[in-house]
């Protein structure tokens, strides 16, 4: 068994003393049911406790605002899966980048709404930060030169308070004398926003006309700072040369003591040269080691290559953070990203977060970019599929979000279907409408077993409530002949008991559904017989009745009833059954009575009497009818 990476967290169960009793538990799909057993820790047993506790790890899926995250990202996920595989990867990169941006904008939208709930907001902030970095490093895969620019964008996006401060300062009466004035200027410089820095500096310059030359000099330096432009024809080496040239100029100014009179301006100049000690003095403005890293790169190594990043990342982290402080999970994740160790990033995120949403979607996107080597896990599927399965299984435990999970399972080629088959049967079915949706999902994926079992559940429910029509429509959907037979039996029993049919609207309008089961066909035809009789179409009725018995559509148990139904037809004044037909009826009667020759002891005498009376009446009627039929057929009209 693998070692655990972190110590598992302990969750105390309220009202339970682990020293006293043993705890029993059982795993659920996303939670554990825990109960107090009667067994004492010291042996022996005592009275039990009536409570069962449900311990859930992931509360997030129940947050209404995060639900929007799940729904919107589901939409993006499905869109991503449908990108055509045959496009060359060159064309796909911008698509992947825009999908990544989509995911991030969904996260940001959630954050805006969640401003009150601090805990989740900070997690989302971290999540978006990590995702953004992954997008820059892995998906966009910026080469040297643009890399620093992208990282700068990344840092700027996550340090939005600078603009707020700047607004405050500029809005004040005398901006240059504002307390936070220099903080704003330096922050802009640290973020590489030279134009804004210059604009704010102008205010100070206006206040100190004597030092105009100094300010002009700095302004000039800031303006001339070369920024790599990937679109232009300038190569990296050309840019490097220009940049070194500029840096020398700045260094020159420093050596010349041009800014010695103004400490702030001198600091800015030192920052421009990339003086790390000065940078570290402004730790508070930088606030994070990765900001420090990017600023350092901007002013010392703007042409850094992606492969060199991790040296600087590690050293920046060490320089910035106290050696005593424990690195936060976020820091180690970012460090792993700078080291281009995707698997470590995913692993650390999985441990740090309690919901598989982030790792699942990110891994899926990275997999589409073909950045994950196929890593065979002990469980047989690859990393992407494993994470998506975990995420979707978590979704399935939610009373409403289970529908999203279906699409995720669809896109897990190895185990998705099996998971879906197991989970879909456990969705509670309160209304017909929900059952229809679940069945539709199963039918679309050819899960006939599940369709049949769900239809059977619904049919049984309907039958229990005496809704025979509903039960029948469910059996038709499942093409369940056995159940249709059961329902027909119920109808026939009702008829025998009451003498009339219930639910005529159903039986009269069966249509082709009649053919689903023999019994059902019989029911339909039998009803037709009654209708024909009602319409006084006696010869048609007679023919139908006979065919029901001779074609063996009617069950044997019903033959007595059929023959009894034949009685009124036999008793009519005019002859309805022909001689042949009468012979057949007699044959049927004989077949019936020969099986009943031995009277059974448990049948009461009355029943016996009724039976024999009926049979005798029938025999008499048949004989009379035969006689009349022979006479009628033998008569020749003169």
């Amino acid at each position: 068994m693998e070692e655990v990476d972190v110590e598992p967290t302990t969750t105390p169960i309220p009202g339970f003393d682990s020293n006293q009793k043993h705890l029993g538990f059982v795993w659920g799909p996303g939670d554990i049911l825990v109960y107090e057993t009667i067994y004492k820790a010291s042996g022996g047993s005592a009275g039990g406790c009536p409570f069962v506790h449900e311990v859930r790890k992931d509360e997030d899926i129940y947050s209404p605002i995060l639900r929007k995250l799940f729904n919107e990202s589901h939409h993006i996920f499905v869109g991503l899966q449908r990108i055509r595989e045959d496009l060359p990867s060159k064309n796909k990169k911008p698509q992947f980048v825009s999908i990544s941006k989509n995911y991030r904008s969904v996260i940001r939208a959630c954050m805006e709404e969640l401003q009150q709930v601090a805990g989740i907001v900070s997690i989302l902030l971290a999540v978006e930060l990590i995702w953004n970095l992954c997008e820059v490093l892995f998906i966009d895969a910026a080469p040297a030169g643009s890399l620093v620019l992208h990282l700068l964008d990344w840092v700027r996006l996550h340090k939005a308070d600078v603009d707020e401060k700047a607004r405050e300062v500029l809005a004040s009466e005398s901006p240059a004398e504002h307390q936070a004035y220099w903080d704003v200027v330096i922050s802009y410089v640290l973020q590489g926003r030279m134009d804004e820095a210059r604009q704010v500096l102008v205010k100070q310059a206006a206040l100190q006309p004597a030092a105009r030359v100094m300010f002009k000099l700095l302004d000039n330096l800031l303006m001339k700072m070369p920024i790599f432009n990937p679109g232009e024809t300038q190569t990296l080496t050309e840019f490097d040369v220009k940049w070194r040239h500029w840096r020398e100029e700045v260094d020159h100014c420093l050596q010349d003591q041009s800014f010695a009179s103004n400490r702030h301006l001198e600091d800015i100049c030192k920052i421009l040269v990339g003086d790390e000690d000065v940078l570290l003095e402004y730790k508070e403005l930088l606030s994070t080691w990765y900001h420090f890293l990017v600023t350092r790169l901007l002013f010392s190594h703007p042409t850094v290559k992606p492969t060199e990043l991790h040296y600087y990342a590690q050293s920046s982290m060490h320089m910035f953070l106290d050696t005593r402080s424990v690195p936060e999970p976020l820091d180690s994740i970012l460090l792993a990203a700078f080291e281009f160790d995707i698997h470590q990033v995913i692993k650390d995120c999985s441990i740090a977060l309690n919901n598989w949403w982030f790792v699942g979607h990110l891994t899926d996107l990275l997999d589409h970019c073909k950045l994950l080597q196929s890593h065979n896990l002990h469980f047989g599927s690859n990393l992407r599929e494993f994470l998506l399965l975990e995420y979707a299984s978590g979704l399935f435990t939610h009373h409403s979000l289970w529908q999203l999970a279906v699409d995720y399972f669809d896109h897990c080629p190895e185990f998705g279907r099996v998971y879906l088959e197991l989970q879909i049967e456990r969705v509670p079915l309160d209304t017909e409408r929900k059952a229809l949706k679940v069945i539709r999902i199963c039918e679309q994926r050819q899960m006939t077993e599940q369709v049949r079992s769900i239809c059977k559940i619904m049919a049984k429910k309907a039958l229990r409530n005496n809704r025979l029509g509903s039960a029948l429509s469910w059996s038709i959907r499942a093409k369940d002949a056995a159940f249709a037979t059961l329902i027909s039996e119920r109808f026939l029993q009702d008829y025998c008991a009451k003498g009339t049919f219930s639910d005529l609207d159903l039986i009269d309008n069966l249509g082709p559904a009649m053919l689903l089961s023999d019994r059902l066909t019989f029911l339909g035809k039998y009803r037709e017989f009654h209708r024909l009789y009602g319409e006084k179409r006696f010869s048609d009725a007679a023919k139908l009745l006979l065919s029901l018995m001779t074609a063996k559509i009617a069950p044997h148990s019903f033959w007595m009833t059929l023959l009894t139904d034949a009685l009124p037809l036999l008793e009519q004044k005019e002859v309805i059954f022909s001689a042949d037909q009468t012979h057949e009826l007699m044959f049927c009667l004989e077949e019936l009575t020969s099986g009943k020759s031995v009277p059974t002891p448990d049948r009461p005498m009355q029943d016996e009497d009724i039976e024999t009376t009926k049979i005798e009446l029938l025999r008499l009627a048949l004989a009379r009818n035969l006689a009349m039929a022979i006479v009628k057929e033998g008569t020749v009209e003169v």
Binding site: P94, S400, Q403
Partner: protein
């Protein structure tokens, strides 16, 4: 170029309905109600688009529906209708029929009347699946096969048609003031006349051939004998109830269950249907059919998700153009009104030029410029 805004609301939407506007005013509707389903706490909500509601932040999402008020609802909202400007009737999966009152001044909802066990089986509750009103009368139908007639402001039941159907009744609509039409899960349309006593329908219509369960029905606004139905197989049928058993026309519309079908109330040459397969179709009978609409004027719809701050640029899989399809009848055009890859569209309503629909993806879509 008009966009359809998606508004994610954290609940699966089962019904959406516009509040009626008085026929004299030419205003477009601006308030709609939604009902949710499949949630532990379901609710009905009132939303506003346009000037009436609280102004949205920023102008980029003009017309974004704003929530005015919400009220807890017991059970799934299986049907929802506006009784009048202030009152909404809902049908619940617990078998209850509730009238909610919307107080405009305080923007709150309250329960005005409740019939708790309107639909039930002998031992437990049966979901009430459809409600239709003709103020002050309310007709409801349920899975128990009963038809109930209520009157708003009166406590008791006005009339019950017991054992109206041996299968579940899925939808109901008024044909005339005293006649209703119901559809059930064995594919039958039944006409009921309230002037006649007894529990028998005055007429039963059904397709010969496979009896497919029918889920929705709507009557033509001007011609009271023309009715459209949609069912489990996604086929759209137009019936003439005066003429026997055959529908006038059968059209393949969707690939799975059609949940709702609506004639446009003022332009009956337009029909809208929505389905489990995630599509919403707009059917148009047009006089000239030489050029399909995608060649005329190049209309393009893009979906603007409320959260998409960064435009998606060249991502074709998320932007969809209006697709057109020809039906077998030469003079009928259909257009898809929503992008593809959606979960089931459960409900739609159209009034004037505005269309609102709700999906299982927990989103509401509003289109204020329906081309009619």
């Amino acid at each position: 170029m008009e966009g359809i805004n998606a508004k994610y609301v954290s609940k699966k939407i089962s019904k959406t309905r516009w509040r009626p506007v008085s026929s004299s005013s030419l205003q477009q509707p601006d308030i709609f109600a939604t009902g949710s389903w499949d949630n532990e706490d379901n609710s009905i909500s009132i939303w506003s688009i346009g000037e009436n509601g609280v102004s949205s932040m920023g102008d980029e999402f003009e017309g974004d529906p704003q929530l005015l008020c919400e009220y807890k609802h017991n059970g799934d909202v299986l049907d929802l209708q506006f009784l009048d400007q202030d009152r909404i009737v809902t049908a619940s999966s617990t078998g209850a029929v509730t009238i909610f009152r919307h107080h405009h001044n305080s923007q709150t909802l309250s329960v005005s009347q409740l019939w708790e066990r309107a639909h039930h089986y002998p031992c437990n509750n049966a979901p009430c699946t459809g409600v239709v009103c003709n103020s002050p009368e309310i007709v409801t139908v349920g899975e128990d096969g009963r038809i109930m007639l209520f009157r708003a402001d009166q406590e008791g039941v006005l009339r019950t048609i017991e054992k109206a159907d041996s299968s579940a009744i899925h939808a109901v609509t008024f044909l005339r003031t005293t006649e209703i039409l119901t559809v059930n899960s064995i594919g039958q349309l039944k006409l009921w006349d309230f002037r006649q006593p007894g529990n028998e329908p005055s007429q039963i219509l059904s397709l010969t051939g496979d009896r497919v369960p029918l889920h929705c029905v709507d009557r033509h606004p001007n011609q009271q004998h023309i009715v459209a139905t949609g069912g489990q197989d996604g086929m759209l049928c137009i019936w003439d109830v005066r003429q026997g058993n055959m529908p006038i026309s059968l059209m393949e519309a969707h690939t799975s269950e059609m949940w709702e079908v609506h004639f446009h109330p003022s332009n009956p040459g337009h029909l809208f249907s929505c389905s489990e397969d995630g599509s919403l179709l707009h059917w148009e009978t047009s006089s000239n059919t030489d050029t399909p609409s995608f060649l005329q004027g190049g209309r393009n719809t893009s979906i603007i998700s409320r959260s998409a701050i960064a435009p998606t640029g060249g991502n074709q899989s998320l932007i969809n153009a209006w697709l057109t399809g020809d039906s077998s009848k030469g003079h009928l055009e259909t257009t898809h009104m929503l992008p593809s890859q959606m979960l089931s569209v459960n409900s739609l309503d159209v009034l004037g030029q505005c269309l609102v629909c709700g999906t299982d993806g927990e989103a509401i879509y509003v289109n204020r410029h329906v081309p009619i």
